[in-house]
Amino acid sequence: MKSLNLLKANTRKEYIELKRYLPNTIALLLTFYIIFLAMFAGIQVIGDPSTQDANIQFVIVNYIFWYLSMMVVQDIGWQITNEATQGTFEQLSMSPMGVWRILFARLIALVAVHFLIVVFLLYLSMFTTGQWLNIDVISLLPILISTLFSMFGLGFIIAGMSVVFKQVQAFLQILQFILAGLVFVPVSVAPILAFFPIVKGVDLVRGIMIDGITLSQVAFADYMILLFNAVFYFVIGLVFYLNCEKVAMKKGLLAHY
């Protein structure tokens, strides 16, 4: 019950801030849309006409995932950096729920709040390009949830780094390109990439949305890799964060910027 209250409080906070600073949210959406239009135009002008449709579909799925991963992974880093500067992070650190639970609640809240934006962006992209993808919610949902767990793991790693090093802004800028790499590079380039966070999930989502495969057509091995990645990266991220918290407490960094 306490965890549910924690989740509710953090979802409400994310929603309030997104709504209260609506112009900022709209500017963010516009920026994303403009970049998408540029990519779309690029494919049309210099892309191979025979693979144009496939390329556009590929870009839509990847681009939406990139937005989601940035909102989740990068945003948690920004939040910690900002809160440490403002002085609210030490209040969070004093919660008997534990900071990791608050951060986990925030990660879920970020997904929940940005989900509507993601859906909007998805339909806007499909409408703009005229490429209507297969939105099979039943098939997409379990894959999406598993992928989100590996994203949360990455979020915890970024959070841990932010707690110890604080000034990670430059890294957070670079991170968006790392995330783009994970999302845009197909598994077919190198099979080992399937074990990287997010990659397998995006690959399967592409299979459903572009190729129209269903959940029952997904290979058992793919499920296992997806599940392994979800558990592995989530646990690694959490353990990394908890250790960073210990280091921060030992060095007295938890409350200082």
């Binding site: 650190s93 919660s95 007295g252």
Partner: protein, 328 residues
């Protein structure tokens, strides 16, 4: 005897300086206890180690060694459990979300401790009333005055429903009126809500006014742990101000200088002033013997009252002199 709610034993913490790698011992084995319902002042000059001590009690900094028990719970072994009994305002208005309203802040922080909005609605309303924030509940925090922000930060700590509240500089940057209001609030919090309060402050008026006991830390060590009342008495009884009807002779002044380490003489043909601090109360007889030598008329004797700021300075300066003597 009242039950101890906080017990600190042989607490040590050292830091390594980033550039020079020099090890600084911020806290050198301090021990003290806080009784349930007590208002304790934790004092010390800048860099004395009081903030580190507070942060160790809050579970934000891990001590090198020593024990901190909060309501009988070791805060290193069961940190989260111990945190249920403690809340703090360490950075004043910086501990709030400036983009949220007054009510949203209260509800958010309550949510972060696992309370539902519904469960705290009544309590939030009461706190808004009590802290005179009712009319401002929908106001964004960044639009509030510093005093109101400070009150809200204390209200947030109150809502945590913890027995112990730690406050670092609760009146810093506040005007006289608001500082007084915050003081009254804290007194009310301790008396009516039966909370234990630990205050760290450089505002000695606040300490003298609301704290029952003080722990003074200097150079990472406790130099005094006593009731405010006792400390004031200790320094008060030995200081006297005498109004004399005559000037003192050279011989009398030489004798006074020899006998009393701290004295101040302001000569005046009609009303000279003599201020003397006695090491022992019996020394008053020797003072009168010196005055009797020239039959100097004593028109008035006042026991000098010291405020807590003077007491604090004397304790800290005395300790610093002792340190110098030790090192030399």
């Amino acid at each position: 005897m009242m039950e101890q709610i906080i017990h600190v034993q042989n607490l040590k913490k050292s830091y390594k300086k980033r550039k020079t790698k020099e090890v600084i011992q911020a806290v050198k084995g301090i021990s003290f206890s806080v009784r349930r319902g007590e208002i304790l002042g934790l004092l010390g000059p800048n860099g004395a180690g009081k903030s580190t001590t507070i942060k160790m009690i809050c579970g934000l900094v891990k001590p090198d060694s020593g024990i901190i028990q909060i309501n009988g719970i070791n805060n290193q072994e069961k940190r989260l459990k111990a945190l249920r009994h403690i809340s703090a305002v360490l950075e004043g208005n910086r501990n709030l979300y400036w983009r949220l309203t007054v009510r949203e802040n209260l509800e958010y922080f309550a949510g972060n401790r696992g309370f539902s909005r519904k469960a705290v609605t009544e309590q939030v309303d009461e706190l808004l009333d009590e802290f005179q924030l009712k009319g401002k509940e929908k106001e964004l925090v960044n639009r509030l005055s510093r005093g109101m922000q400070q009150k809200l930060a204390i209200a947030v700590a109150m809502l945590a429903d913890s027995e112990v509240i730690l406050l670092d500089e609760p009146t810093l940057g506040l005007d006289v009126e608001t500082s007084y209001e915050v003081r009254e609030l804290l007194r009310k919090v301790a008396n009516e809500h039966q909370r234990t309060i630990i205050i760290s402050s450089h505002d000695m008026d606040v300490i003298q006014d609301i704290c029952e006991r003080t722990v003074i830390i200097n150079n990472g060590e406790i130099v005094t742990n006593d009731k405010v009342e006792n400390l004031l008495k200790l320094f008060d009884v030995r200081a006297y101000s005498l109004t004399l009807g005559n000037l003192l002779s050279d011989n009398q002044q030489t004798l006074l200088k020899k006998k009393f380490a701290i004295y101040q003489y302001t000569p005046d043909t009609y009303q000279s002033k003599l201020e003397v601090e006695l090491a022992k109360s019996e020394e008053i007889y020797e003072l009168f013997d010196i005055l009797k030598l020239a039959r100097t008329p004593v028109e008035a004797i006042d026991r000098k009252t010291v405020n807590f700021e003077q007491v604090f300075l004397k304790i800290v300066k005395g300790e610093q002199q002792n340190e110098k003597l030790k090192s030399s």
